[in-house]
């Protein structure tokens, strides 16, 4: 029998705790079971509306370039295979399409042998819509595979909205 000590500073490690995806999945399952599917969307709207306020401000100021930077960072942190296409219009793009080959969250949950909440796509759809809320842009989920989380997400300027 031994005595063991572990002493770590934050800088000793890279912050990447993939099991948080599993916790979020459990949260969606719980909220749907207790309060219904609409509550899941309400919750995700509340979260994205609050947490992404700085991103929404940046999108209103810098347009889809701000969103492009955000998406590239978030997905690359988790080692996702993505492709971002933009349709330029003047100095900044008017449309951005994100192709995600496999969602890191869905693949982690599946790897653990667990059921993915049928509402997990709302972490993309509802969150993206909330990110765009109050900006000159709108979000659309063009394709989504619930098995892998593969998706095609589109963001574009709402017709008639000024630059």
């Amino acid at each position: 029998m031994t005595k063991q000590i572990m002493d770590r500073a934050a800088a000793d490690n890279v912050y990447l705790h993939k099991d948080f995806h599993r916790a979020l999945n459990q949260a969606l399952i719980y909220v749907e079971r207790v309060f219904g599917a609409a509550a899941v969307k309400d919750y995700l709207r509340q979260f994205a509306g609050t947490f992404h306020a700085p991103l929404r401000r940046a999108m209103s100021e810098r347009g889809l370039d701000a969103l492009k930077d955000y998406l590239a960072d978030v997905y690359s942190d988790e080692g996702a295979d993505i492709r971002i296409e933009t349709i330029p219009c003047g100095r900044e793009p008017d449309e951005l399409t994100l192709h995600v080959k496999e969602c890191p969250a869905v693949s982690h949950i599946r790897k653990m042998g667990l059921t993915v909440s049928p509402l997990f796509l709302e972490t993309v759809k509802t969150v993206n819509e909330a990110i765009c809320s109050g900006t000159p842009f709108e979000a659309g989920l063009l394709e989504y595979d619930p098995e892998t989380g593969r998706s095609v997400q589109r963001f574009r300027r709402i017709a008639g909205r000024p630059r």
């Binding site: 029998m1 005595k3 912050y15 979020l24 719980y30 509550a39 306020a53 995600v100 969250a105």
Partner: protein
């Protein structure tokens, strides 16, 4: 996608959402659910390895979360402890200027882990008096034996 790095704010907002729906009992009910369905790995590790299971569990999670901590395992005494010098989750929430963390955010650690460990025969002691500075202390002790292992 809500990324791993965004989970903690999402978690905090969920507690606020649930409290608005059904008060603190709704938050506690969710914490109990999460303990039962999410912390199965901690339960399995402690059931199979005793107090060492705590070391195995937190060795992984605290390193993946890049925490600033010191933890200690004394198998003979049946004791495991964590001194969290800077909790990455509470530290992140404290650093967000555009959103207010759930007031009892750190309460989830008490409820979730206690619910797993007490039925397995362990005492779970947590000092949450310094969570405003993202610090806390946890001691987990096997019951039925003196701290010296006798």
């Amino acid at each position: 996608m809500i990324s791993c790095k965004e989970f903690i704010p999402a978690y905090s907002e969920l507690f606020k959402f649930l409290e608005k729906k059904g008060g603190k009992p709704a938050v506690l009910d969710f914490w109990n659910f999460l303990s039962d369905t999410y912390l199965t790995n901690l339960r399995d590790l402690v059931a199979a390895n005793g107090i060492r299971g705590c070391w195995m569990y937190w060795s992984q999670t605290l390193n993946e979360e890049a925490a600033d901590f010191r933890m200690e395992l004394d198998e003979e005494a049946g004791e495991f402890s964590i001194v969290m010098r800077h909790c990455p989750s509470k530290g992140l929430l404290n650093g967000l200027t555009h959103m207010e963390p759930y007031a009892d955010y750190c309460g989830h650690c008490d409820v979730l882990y206690r619910r797993v460990l007490e039925p397995l025969g362990y005492e779970y002691l947590v000092d949450l008096s310094e969570t405003g500075e993202a610090r806390c202390k946890v001691v987990i002790r096997r019951l039925g034996r003196s701290p010296s292992g006798g």
